[in-house]
């Protein structure tokens, strides 16, 4: 029941997007998100949509799979749309009782919805095509310059990769615990808010205990293999730019330049 969450999951297949250096994909995601917030006409979004569609096609991840992950954020999306629709001042189009909808409100609400949807799909492409390990590797390398100001980049990256690695494990565990408690007559689905919150106790206590136990075991296993942080550590698969990554960057900057030009200045 919990396995439907695809946000932040990796989809295993072999495509040119999968093979790209994680740094290209990181930069791509950041540039894509920035570009989304630059546009102030619909053509910019058309540009972004085309780019997104091409990347999705190339990544060989089924579109259905991505949409499945969107279900969890539909509530957030609706909330943003509703607030923007009703709370933006400007030229009134129509009003019911004390609430009025403005022309500006509609515009912002529509743009916001498009922006958020694309933002989530865009960033989920990154996580769907990059293994968590690869992703943190890429982050560590591209944020390496922060070491100069004494930021423990390696440690932060390690913590992130461990956190990401634990998500599916804990989800599976939650599923098992839920089943075990349902088998004892626990009810997670009915009752008011307080009753439901109370019903979570039999789920959360075993979950926390197992998370602590797993963390402890992992720490032990890491120490047993002499892990002492980033200093002097080498990698089995160091990240090296290849020709395809250069092509990736070129396409990326081309997209950025064209979409900004179209979305900001052309019309």
């Amino acid at each position: 029941m919990l396995r439907d969450i695809t946000l932040g999951q990796y989809y295993q297949t072999d495509s040119c997007i999968h093979r790209l250096d994680p740094r290209v994909k990181l930069a791509g995601t950041v540039l894509f998100i920035i570009s989304l917030f630059f546009f102030d006409n619909i053509w910019g979004y058309v540009c972004a949509a085309v780019f997104l569609a091409v990347v999705i096609k190339l990544s060989k991840v089924p579109f259905k799979f991505m949409i499945k992950g969107m279900k969890s954020i539909i509530f957030l999306l609706m909330l943003t749309v509703v607030f923007n629709l009703f709370l933006t001042p400007g030229e009134v189009v129509f009003s019911v009782w004390k609430i009025s909808v403005t022309r500006e409100g509609i515009r912002i609400a529509v743009f916001m919805a498009i922006r958020l949807t694309m933002l989530i799909i865009g960033s989920s492409i990154m996580t769907l095509t990059t293994t968590p390990n690869n992703l943190t590797d890429g982050m560590e390398k591209s944020l390496g310059f922060l070491k100069v100001i004494k930021l423990p980049v390696h440690e932060v990256a390690m913590m992130m990769s461990i956190a990401l690695r634990f998500i599916p494990i804990l989800l599976e565990e939650t599923d098992k615990i839920m089943k075990a408690q349902i088998a004892r007559g626990a009810d997670f689905e009915s009752g008011n808010l307080i009753k439901r919150a109370k019903a979570m106790v039999p789920l959360l206590v075993p979950l926390f205990i197992s998370a602590f136990r797993r963390a402890n075991d992992l720490a032990m296993a890491m120490e047993a293999r002499c892990y002492r942080g980033g200093e002097g550590r080498t990698k089995m698969k160091p990240l090296i730019y290849k020709k395809r990554d250069a092509i990736g960057y070129t396409v990326l900057f081309a997209y950025f330049a064209i979409s900004i030009a179209v979305g900001k200045f052309l019309f």
Binding site: A180, Q181, I182, A183, D187
Partner: protein
């Protein structure tokens, strides 16, 4: 009073690239009062099968009947089914959460809507039935040993007074002594209460001695469903699917080969000893 599975199949991850057929057209009947062993290698679908029996997962196709009613019917009360078919999962850590053992065992009966007094009475009875010493009743369940935790977990389900008790690998991770103790306790429980028990295990040694009937699963299919001695006759086929007959079976077959007139169908050490004595 029985459970019937009628051509039940289950597919995990339907409509994705990673679809796995965990159960493939399984039909069987579990009548009242039987002690059944369900054996299969890891990933053979035995855990999936037992989760169907109390409605935790829904069959992709096929029907399951409890006392003549289809459990997937809209007006069927799943909660009632879960109190009648008790399922104890493999890891007790997944269900223990209260500050002390006693209140943890009370959780199930309380969920059935019983009063505090009734729930406590049932918890006390259940803990007695699984043979947990009195002085552990008010300890934290997390401080107990593996075998004791397992007893508490079983008591937690027993306190709901199920008609069918399903135990998913109750002996996994226990030392040989703890294993025999738990199995003895379960068979004792069955003698006392006449409850139907389905014991899931991957070890033939575990179940051979106690059960009336063995179900063998392989790759989602039910391959054997018979009395232990009949199933062990296929010991060569069992080996091919990664299982083994009890050691006794091998010894008896070897003795027979070197010309001793022994009963190769003996399933327990006692039977084997008797048969060897006779042959000598």
């Amino acid at each position: 009073m029985s459970l019937i599975l009628d051509h039940v199949s289950h597919v995990y991850g339907d409509d994705t690239a990673l679809a796995v057929k965990a159960l493939d057209d399984v039909s069987l009947e579990i009548p009242d009062g039987q002690f059944i062993g369900l054996i299969g290698h890891t990933g053979s679908g035995k855990s999936t099968l037992v989760q169907h029996l109390n409605g935790l997962i829904k069959a992709s196709s096929g029907h399951i009947y409890f006392n003549g009613k289809d459990i997937d019917d809209d007006d069927f009360k799943k909660k009632e089914l879960r109190s009648k078919v008790g399922l104890v999962f493999q890891y007790p850590e997944h269900q223990l959460f209260e500050a002390d053992v006693f209140s943890d065992v009370c959780f199930g009966p309380k969920n059935l809507g019983l009063t505090k007094k009734e729930a406590e009475l049932r918890a006390y009875e259940a803990l007695k039935k699984v043979g947990l010493p009195d002085d552990l009743f008010y300890q934290s369940p997390f401080e107990l040993s593996g075998g004791q935790k397992r007893r508490v977990a079983i008591a937690g389900v027993l306190a709901m007074k199920p008609e069918v008790l399903i135990l998913d690998e109750p002996t996994a991770g226990l030392d040989p002594k703890g294993r025999t103790e738990i199995l003895e306790q379960i068979s004792e429980l069955r003698r006392e209460t006449g409850i139907t028990i389905l014991l899931v295990s991957h070890s033939m040694e575990d179940v051979a001695e106690y059960v009336d009937r063995i179900l063998v699963m392989n790759k989602g299919k039910l391959v054997y469903d018979d009395k232990p001695r009949e199933v062990f006759k296929h010991y060569k086929e069992l080996e091919q699917i990664g299982l083994a007959a009890p050691q006794v079976t091998y010894i008896m077959h070897e003795l027979k080969e070197i010309g001793m007139d022994v009963d190769v169908d003996a399933t327990t050490i006692e039977e084997a000893a008797e048969s060897i004595k006779k042959a000598l």
